[in-house]
Symmetry: D3
Subunit: 327 residues, 6 copies
Amino acid sequence: MIIDIHGHTVAPPQVYEFQARLLGSRGYPFDKFPQISDEQINQPLKRVVDLLDSVGTDLQLISPRPYLAMHSIQPAGVVHKWTEFVNNIIAQQVKLHPTRFRGVAGLPQSPGADIRDCIPELKRAVQELGFVGCQLNPDPMEGGYPEPPGLGTEYWYPLYEALVELDVPMLIHSAACCSPRESYTLHFINEESIAIMSLLDSKVFEDFPTLKVVVSHTGGAIPFHMGRFRAWRHRSGGEDFDVAIKKLYFDTVNYSKEALELAFKVLGSDNLLFGTENPGTGSVMNPHTGRTYDDLKPIIDSIEFLTEEDRRKVYEENAKRLYKLEV
Amino acid sequence: MIIDIHGHTVAPPQVYEFQARLLGSRGYPFDKFPQISDEQINQPLKRVVDLLDSVGTDLQLISPRPYLAMHSIQPAGVVHKWTEFVNNIIAQQVKLHPTRFRGVAGLPQSPGADIRDCIPELKRAVQELGFVGCQLNPDPMEGGYPEPPGLGTEYWYPLYEALVELDVPMLIHSAACCSPRESYTLHFINEESIAIMSLLDSKVFEDFPTLKVVVSHTGGAIPFHMGRFRAWRHRSGGEDFDVAIKKLYFDTVNYSKEALELAFKVLGSDNLLFGTENPGTGSVMNPHTGRTYDDLKPIIDSIEFLTEEDRRKVYEENAKRLYKLEV
Amino acid sequence: MIIDIHGHTVAPPQVYEFQARLLGSRGYPFDKFPQISDEQINQPLKRVVDLLDSVGTDLQLISPRPYLAMHSIQPAGVVHKWTEFVNNIIAQQVKLHPTRFRGVAGLPQSPGADIRDCIPELKRAVQELGFVGCQLNPDPMEGGYPEPPGLGTEYWYPLYEALVELDVPMLIHSAACCSPRESYTLHFINEESIAIMSLLDSKVFEDFPTLKVVVSHTGGAIPFHMGRFRAWRHRSGGEDFDVAIKKLYFDTVNYSKEALELAFKVLGSDNLLFGTENPGTGSVMNPHTGRTYDDLKPIIDSIEFLTEEDRRKVYEENAKRLYKLEV
Amino acid sequence: MIIDIHGHTVAPPQVYEFQARLLGSRGYPFDKFPQISDEQINQPLKRVVDLLDSVGTDLQLISPRPYLAMHSIQPAGVVHKWTEFVNNIIAQQVKLHPTRFRGVAGLPQSPGADIRDCIPELKRAVQELGFVGCQLNPDPMEGGYPEPPGLGTEYWYPLYEALVELDVPMLIHSAACCSPRESYTLHFINEESIAIMSLLDSKVFEDFPTLKVVVSHTGGAIPFHMGRFRAWRHRSGGEDFDVAIKKLYFDTVNYSKEALELAFKVLGSDNLLFGTENPGTGSVMNPHTGRTYDDLKPIIDSIEFLTEEDRRKVYEENAKRLYKLEV
Amino acid sequence: MIIDIHGHTVAPPQVYEFQARLLGSRGYPFDKFPQISDEQINQPLKRVVDLLDSVGTDLQLISPRPYLAMHSIQPAGVVHKWTEFVNNIIAQQVKLHPTRFRGVAGLPQSPGADIRDCIPELKRAVQELGFVGCQLNPDPMEGGYPEPPGLGTEYWYPLYEALVELDVPMLIHSAACCSPRESYTLHFINEESIAIMSLLDSKVFEDFPTLKVVVSHTGGAIPFHMGRFRAWRHRSGGEDFDVAIKKLYFDTVNYSKEALELAFKVLGSDNLLFGTENPGTGSVMNPHTGRTYDDLKPIIDSIEFLTEEDRRKVYEENAKRLYKLEV
Amino acid sequence: MIIDIHGHTVAPPQVYEFQARLLGSRGYPFDKFPQISDEQINQPLKRVVDLLDSVGTDLQLISPRPYLAMHSIQPAGVVHKWTEFVNNIIAQQVKLHPTRFRGVAGLPQSPGADIRDCIPELKRAVQELGFVGCQLNPDPMEGGYPEPPGLGTEYWYPLYEALVELDVPMLIHSAACCSPRESYTLHFINEESIAIMSLLDSKVFEDFPTLKVVVSHTGGAIPFHMGRFRAWRHRSGGEDFDVAIKKLYFDTVNYSKEALELAFKVLGSDNLLFGTENPGTGSVMNPHTGRTYDDLKPIIDSIEFLTEEDRRKVYEENAKRLYKLEV
């Protein structure tokens, strides 16, 4: 069984029409969520199902598309309404294709707000909508100022408590980026590097030993710069960096074979989960392979040093265990 | 002939899907504008045509829907792309129904930017797309800080020069409002009041005697507070306020009869243009009349003190003259 | 009996000499309030009494002149001292002419400060000085940034509690305006519109059913745009806007007959109170009538559709009831 | 002949009534300056003349009272109008008592504005009103942020050019102070210290060798800390500090004998000018002497080490030469 | 016995190498304090001992060099580490020369932080390192914005409580100055003036009658402007300023004889403590005396009006009593 | 011959003592640079020479240690003096060991300042001190706000012009990081990723085809995420990303073999230059190899797929060509 833990919702344009109105009105006045019919929902979704079939994915975990999260838009009420609405859309999608999708919740994060404000929506998503995890944006300011506290600080503890209590993982994934010199897609990578270091230089895993954290995009820049942080750790006398990094999980959303090989060598098959972000950035034809960049299974299948057990873990078992998937 | 000078584009949801992506990516990277097919465009538009038929409007001038203008979103490139795209959509709509619509351009205004940055798009709209005027937002900061210079200041002069040169009117209409205590719809009203006073307390009409300015929504609060500003003027010794206000034009987008009566008394039929903003805020059934609030023709028809000539001016002649409509 | 609920204190120049010194020193050091003699006080005041006689007003409620309130001047101690001083001057004036004036308190509002800081002065004014109400500035920032919370938010609740407990009304009236594009007199109008909508879109009257709110200047722009907000309400399904607006009271400080007619039609004689702000902005001769703009009684007398009962309510009874005047 | 170079205007309360209105309206709208009658002007002024008689002063140079200058009030137009008005009042006062007063101009300084904006008013004061110098506030931000450029920077050069061209001195004197921990009177002292060091550590006197600068209040803290700055200079190898400081002039507004003695020893009688700021801060009875603190002539007369020539310079000759007084 | 209460540590360059690394890394990551050997420490220190011998000083109290305190550097952790490190260095120095030095602690002040954050380091210094007092910077923002609360406000009360409990004095001494128009050395003087006035205009000595405060540099500008503040006090009716100022102590760090004479006259020998800040700003040869500016004992010895008892107090007894020195 | 293009100066502690004084005084007053003797300079430097001998490096290019650059410290004069001083120290070091070192200049970058302010020091370093390149910090704000313009913008063009004219390369290397959630060492990586994308998404290499750019630390995260940016480029239709990235050069400062292998595969031996940053972050013993992490030659020697020619290019030829080294 092939489980892709990193997919984002593909919604019909009516969803974005509502987003436009919500942004335009800044939620004042606010009436009610529009009804998007199952038919409207299914129109783009069935193409995703076909896509999953074509690449051999059995189940995909889908979350709100991060770069559309509008976390930095003020006032915070806009973010709350938008997040709730998108989570509802995802629930509707899972209901339409219960064997192919599971929901991963967006959180209504707003810069400067108390992180506790996100917990009701997290609980609603998991307990009422049946979602299996959530997505966490380490930078709700979206590249602006002031920067949020690092993930290693106590600012985030109330959320970690809730996650531990619900026993669901969080997928670290930033959102848009307002900086004119940094695209959102590069911001993803940089924020993941910061998130990893902030968590590993903190007491978070002492305080929440059962917290489950998945880092998107094979961990930003960190696996490529292991030597730098190994030296750092040796110097300051902490735990080995190769040991520390195993407290985190990573997905395989990295579209080149040499990088995935490095990731497998450095992070290992116990800590990697199959993910493609398909359809998304990588859904363009690679002229050298004739397949899209995000069709990652053939690439992973071709990595020679992996065993069948390695692949089984990455494709299926790690995800089932972490997300407690009953499939 | 009935000409409604105040309509906003009704676009298919695909337009807003693009807006969402543009907002999410902040225009970095930017690929190209999506193609929206004539069929997609026409789906919501033919409902508008039916609507115009049902209320007896022959021609409607349509502009970008103001509260979706995103003027305050940074960086400015986002606003430029979005404005250009929406103007293109409007041109496509006019082409589909050339006897029923004319285009009024949005301008890519960005707070703090030089107003000259808007002139290329204004010229493109008028000279290449055949638009008959533009919409001006007196508050591109959208309720934020710092406030823009008043319309009476020289900040706006390069635009006024271009308008005079092109000989097209501008419709004063603000956009979204980011203040949590002021809805965008009330912001429209307040900004119109500020715009009128800033223009009339300035030398703009001395410097640009042929500038054509139309104020939305019957002029905000000013016609209702004429006494206050008449007294003000008497005190400081300027031109009579009743004379001064006639340098401006106003539309009839005000959904109550007693207010329209006051507007006709104070502003006069030479300075009022028929406008409804239909479909829009007023497109809800008035239980007392069985018609929508924005079905204004029956109301104007019922104002007893108006002559046929008054109505002809307001419904048709003022608009034809100001906008140089050839119909 | 004619009661004018909207007058502002006319103080001798010595009062402003103190204000200048207070502003210059920013209250550091502060010595003590200057003594203004009854004779000094009475010099300008007796001219006001003559004025009231000439227009037929029996009793005027007087409050601090709003545009001199200095609410946005930092530090807050300056505002506290100035407000206390002006309230004292008003008390001294009432004492000199006990049959002609009643005091309405200014509040020492400072942007960003806790609204509770105003309550001791409110209580002192009502309980010790015998004042019959207070004036509330919805924008102590005086057109600056950041904007204050809307009147519908819980920020203001401690004050509402105190008002309900004291059973006195508040008159909504903004102060100066620091924006170079908006005069204070227009700011009055815009702030009243925002205040009305913020209150009516909130739960304030559910939480404080006996709160008495009077809006200055016939309610800003709202009565002129009833149609817009009626449609709005119908759309979102709330209480009729015409019902909602009756929770508020309004004064007649609007210097044109057609506007007052509209106000009477829309707001009704149960919710309007006679007010003139005389002497003030309107105290200039209207060449068409030979009377000052703020001589409103002849205008109201001339509105044909009003009954004697209507006029009695507006001139006298509403004020007596709301302000619990014993005269 | 006794010339007091440091007096501030004593104006009737009507002047402050206008200031209050100007502040309240922020100059929008602005009508015209009120006429203050000679009689009103003279009422407080004749008490000053009596005062000068009683302490033996023949001629006093009077400037706007600094702590009322409102330099930091926005927008800048308020400052321009206020300054022009006060300079006019001073001109009217000089005209009333031409043998007893000379005018020293206030400048319409506004933080962040180009210093060139002050030059027209400086020229008007000197060339049209006959003033003999001006007052310069080194901190138009009045204790706020950001700090202005130091007096040694080129920001101020256009003003210095104008002063050299007009051949009139500037008196360094700060205005109000918005800091809650620093009174305006202490701010005077601190700003004078900063001004002296900024000028002496710069090339101003190389670039403007004929610039005439008088520092108020015996030079802030600098004469008391000569040793500190002598050592500083020796270390960095510049001109002797005792030589450098003689490029500046100082007045004697310091209300204790031991301090004046120190000032005479350190600054010398060629660089000190008699000044009292009377009436002002020091106009309170000193119980030990039975005279007011600002009655400085008896104190200076009692300093034993001064010669008659010293006193003549300080009382008369230095002022006559610097201000080119024809008396 | 000659006790110099105002010296600052002279540390080997290795200390500043650590400072550079701490600044560069902003304390992230932080490893551990470097070991500076006794030999390294002693290399510059023995030159100080020779210096003390040459000027006849028996004991010097040494504190961190204020202009290197880095109080305004963010984040606050940098300041905490740096302060702790320098206090340790001072303790090591005292240990090397126990008969010649005593430690005065730096405090890890950070702008905007709670002053309570400094108390653990204060207690460590006094109780564990044996320090006899601390240095307080009234402006941890170092000339930036916003200004800190005045020393008279309750912001500082927790520190005052701790000082009273520990029964040790604080020496008021500001640090660097980021303003381009004010050098740190002049900032010292201005901050001292502000500190004195803020304390004396407050209730601090009512609330903490046993608080011991020493002001550096003979009290900034205040002794030179006693007349100004005497008048001020008389006007507002408080305690005599000459009485009030005796609640504070002052050191003699003022490098000119005439100023020291003034200080002795105004402040008196009971309130002055011998201090030189040697080696420091004044350690440059005075060509007129052949001694360095900071060799103050010969100057004080030459002041004729001082008695032997005066000198004993200033050189020894006041310091012993205030700092509870057992020597 | 082995050339290490990425070394930073190892300076004696006296250099940091000067830095501390410069920071403390903020350059006001400024006297002169201290003389650091050749002996002092050589003490730490000869240890570096020994180090180079032990790892087999013949020549090292040395630049200022980036995290000590203080670029964000205000005012800018501090940065100018510090940079000039450090460049002088490097010149002195090169002079002491002319066969072992070459200088790479630091630039006095200050956030918000015109980049032209750096050109005189660049020219002095190259033309007078004989330096062979410079170091460029893409983030002189050091992690603060607002962010600088991206390297692809015209802000940087004057510097690029100067570099092209001088025909020397720039090494992209950020400095300190003030963010509490991001260490300077991780900031290096993130800034390199941003720099690469900003340059490659711009017209810089069209406008300056001969500009020579070396990116530190094997190019941040980009080589590890090639797939992401390949897809991105295909989507937007630009030049192949693998072609584009070859416009840049990269050094080998990456302390793990698997990452260097990836770098060689993706970037190729024509675009990589041997660099170690030794001594620095990696100078700690790797327990698995018995060598320090930054001893990179054995690692590169062990990469099996490299040819001798590959190694010769990377160790020697690329550096000689780019830096025009005559050795």
